[in-house]
């Protein structure tokens, strides 16, 4: 049966269903009804009952349609989507980490507060740079202290071993 043939009204479909229930349909007519019920969205107690009785055939139709619906979603498409997402992610990350994209990075920010007041940009820059030097001195001092301590520990261990 072609799709353009399936133009039954609700009443006609119900009538066919009643005939089916009374076993008055031929095998061919039953097959046609089965097809019609799979295609038409009609619902009534009688139609639903016949649908339930023909449940297997309807389920098959549904499976087929779902297969058709997702037929485009094959492995190649999936890999394509995943690759696109990965590329977009990588480009986004590269842009995010690019200093030229961020104005603050390219010009630099220097803010300083002295005696409870914010100082000018020039003074801030001077203060920050001087403080950074102090931090660097601190870190080299720590490195020196650590190596001295390490040396002491090694000497102690050597002394114990002797």
């Amino acid at each position: 049966m072609k799709e353009h043939d399936v133009k039954l009204t609700l009443q006609e479909t119900e009538q066919l269903c009643r005939l089916y229930m009374d076993c008055q349909l031929t095998v061919l007519e039953e097959i046609e009804l089965q097809y019609v019920l799979g295609k038409m969205p009609y619902s009534s107690p009688c139609i639903d009952e016949v649908r339930m009785l023909m449940g297997v055939a309807i389920t098959m139709n549904v499976k087929e349609s779902s297969k058709k619906r997702f037929a485009w979603f094959n492995r190649k498409t999936a890999i394509g989507i995943a690759a696109t997402v990965t590329i977009l992610f990588a480009v986004g990350l590269a842009l995010f980490n690019n200093p030229a994209v961020n104005d603050n990075d390219s010009f630099g920010i220097y803010i300083a507060y002295v005696n409870g007041r914010e100082v000018s940009h020039e003074l801030s820059e001077q203060q920050v740079k001087s403080d950074m030097e102090r931090a660097d001195e601190f870190l080299s001092h720590i490195a020196e202290l650590e190596s001295r301590e390490q040396e002491q520990v090694e000497n102690f261990i050597n002394h114990i071993e002797q």
Binding site: V85, N104, I111, V128, F138, L139, H141
Partner: protein, 126 residues
């Protein structure tokens, strides 16, 4: 479909493993609370790919105590920590790794004053 799921999970994993800000407790000290404090000299900088913040505290044991307390909160996250009391005062240093970069945190306490700083590559703070 399985392949797609594997790739999708890998993408999700890489997104979740993406750069995360370290959210250090010591960073909260630069929320502006000491900007108007006369005993504190604040320096903040983000330039040449370096993130730097420091506080100089002069004769204010209360603030020094708060800094020390915040530093202690971050110490479990440190890949390396060092503490020593010497001629130049008491030195506390933490090295925290984030996004593959090192964040140096230091506190020097001397004669009732303190110098505290956070320094690292900007990438470490993103």
């Amino acid at each position: 479909m399985k392949q797609f799921l594997v790739i999708f999970i890998l993408v999700l994993t890489s997104i979740s493993a993406m750069a995360k800000p370290p959210r250090l407790a010591v960073e909260q000290l630069f929320d502006g609370r000491y900007n108007k404090e006369k005993a504190v000299r604040t320096s903040i900088s983000r330039a040449d790919g370096t993130y730097y913040r420091s506080l100089h505290v002069t004769n204010n044991p209360g603030i020094i105590k708060i800094i020390e307390s915040e530093l202690r909160k971050d110490s479990p996250r440190a890949a390396k920590s060092f503490e020593q009391e010497g001629e130049g005062g008491r030195y506390t240093s933490l090295k925290i790794i984030n996004n593959g970069e090192t964040i140096d945190i230091g506190l020097q306490q001397y004669n009732g004053n303190a110098f505290f700083f956070i320094k690292g590559k900007e990438k470490a703070f993103k």
